[in-house]
């Protein structure tokens, strides 16, 4: 059975796969166009006081362990919720719990899709996502390690991989 090395999970090729996983999850299950950010940076990050959601999923695969963390502004979270659920604008807005559930599932899909494509072979275990609300700057400091900057519907999404 193939066992990945920790270094392979953060190699440039693996980070490219992470971008592909984000695009696939966003477009296929959340019906939201996604692009890797251009070299001149992310879309408008908003103000420092804006609320962001931080969703972290811990993984364990054949001796490797780490966390994939998704960081996104609240308005993008709401847009993803509406797209996933086909929510009518006249419907009541989602509760905090519903929004957290949905963004946790978003992060869960990204982590799983990335692991499946990066190291095909061994099964992996994912923890239940942990989702919290944070001010923008604290959110963007939520995780160390390599990260990808994405644009979803012209809104920023940051996904980071941290190894244990």
């Amino acid at each position: 059975m193939y066992s990945p090395k920790l270094s392979e999970l953060v190699a440039p090729e693996a980070i490219d796969v992470l971008r592909g996983a984000v695009i696939d999850v966003a477009e296929r299950s959340f019906f939201t166009p996604a692009d890797a950010s251009a070299d001149d940076g992310l879309p408008d990050l908003g103000s420092a006081s804006d609320a962001w959601l931080v969703a972290a999923v811990r993984f364990k695969e054949a001796g490797c362990a780490g966390t994939v963390t998704c960081m996104l502004p609240h308005d993008l979270s709401r847009a993803l919720f509406d797209a996933f659920n086909g929510r009518d604008p006249l419907d009541p807005p989602p509760s905090v719990g519903e929004l957290s559930d949905l963004i946790g599932e978003f992060a869960n899909m990204i982590c799983g899709a990335w692991l499946t494509r990066t190291v095909d072979g061994p099964a992996f275990l994912l923890s239940a996502p942990v989702v919290r609300v944070s001010a923008r700057d604290a959110a963007l400091d939520a995780s160390d390690g390599p990260r990808v900057m994405m644009s979803l519907n012209d809104r920023p999404l940051v996904v980071a991989v941290a190894l244990a």
Binding site: M1, R28, S29, D101, L102, N108, D120
Partner: protein
Amino acid sequence: MDDSAMMRAQIKRVVKLAGVPVDEILEASNGVEALAILETQDVQWLLTDINMPVMNGAELLREIARHDKWRALGKVIISTDGSTARREEAAALDVHRYLEKPFSPEVLRDVLTEAVGAGRA
């Protein structure tokens, strides 16, 4: 069965929109809840995630395989884990179809339509 209520809701929507002939859709957030349902309800099809707390999908499927009374139960896995190891494990547990997340609703619709249409003895 999925620990995400949002995912369970989406799957229910797709099942209804697909026109798959079902009498009732029952929900569980982990394997223990699913077993309780299986013990008391006449279930024909189980759609299950893998990674869940308390009892995950793989543990549930192994438990189901131990009992003859659930021999005819149709099983579909819907999971982010598309690894070779999981797929091989699923095949050994007589899983009918393995659907990898992310998926489009149309793919789920087609899987369910084919699965229910094929029927189980």
